[in-house]
Amino acid sequence: MAEHYSSFTKGGRLWFVQRLTAAFLVIVLAFHFFLLHFVHHADEVTFLMSQARMTNLTYYSLMILFLFTATFHGVNGVYNALVNQGLTGTKRQAVKWTLIAASAVLLVQGVRTANAWAGGVPI
């Protein structure tokens, strides 16, 4: 009964990914907050310190992953919430593409920022 797998609708996949990203975010977000507010205080942040962290490949990858998951999770969450409120038809498509565009901008900008610190992808 292979056909039914094609029914793996987007709704279900997105729902699942929303949970996966959530689980991942718990750890990373907590780490992020802890690192930048408790270990280092936010007001002590300088470009150089950020740069120092970012040139570490592990940290860099983690942050990029963080950015992508958070963006997906947040934007998909917003989209979901709107759909739950009865967003349908063309409006829905419009919102969807707007959100995708916004995410793209966010991701590009985020990656550029990270690269600015790391001076390109740190290898």
């Binding site: 959530a22 718990v26 507010h37 300088t46 919430a81 550029r112």
Partner: protein, 141 residues
Amino acid sequence: MSQSYNRGTIESFSRWREFSAGMWAWIFHKFTGWVLVGYLFTHIAVLSTAIPAASADPSTLAASGDIYTQTIVTLEELLLVRILEVGLLAVAVFHILNGLRLLLVDLGIGLESQDKSFYASVMLTGAITVASVPTFLAGAL
């Protein structure tokens, strides 16, 4: 279909009278989620000042005179920003804790005590937030 009448206000008034943990958790989760996305966008916007800063002079960087460091410092000097940061922490902590609660619910764990876990999330959020106030306000006062 018979005529019908939209009760609008009447309905929404009484709707919230009866407290229901699950529903408030849902509302808070929504609210905090939206705040977090909002923050994510601003956050990246602020951080991207690092792009021009990267081409700044090493000495400027060393003296923390670059546009990135300056922006951060200026912002962090404002009490309002510090308070907002405490708010952000509260929002994030609640979203995390309730998010965990929701993940458990999704796994079918502890559905009977969903209201208790909501109260626990709220209280923990409160506690963590209060405890972090000194750290967050340090240097701003």
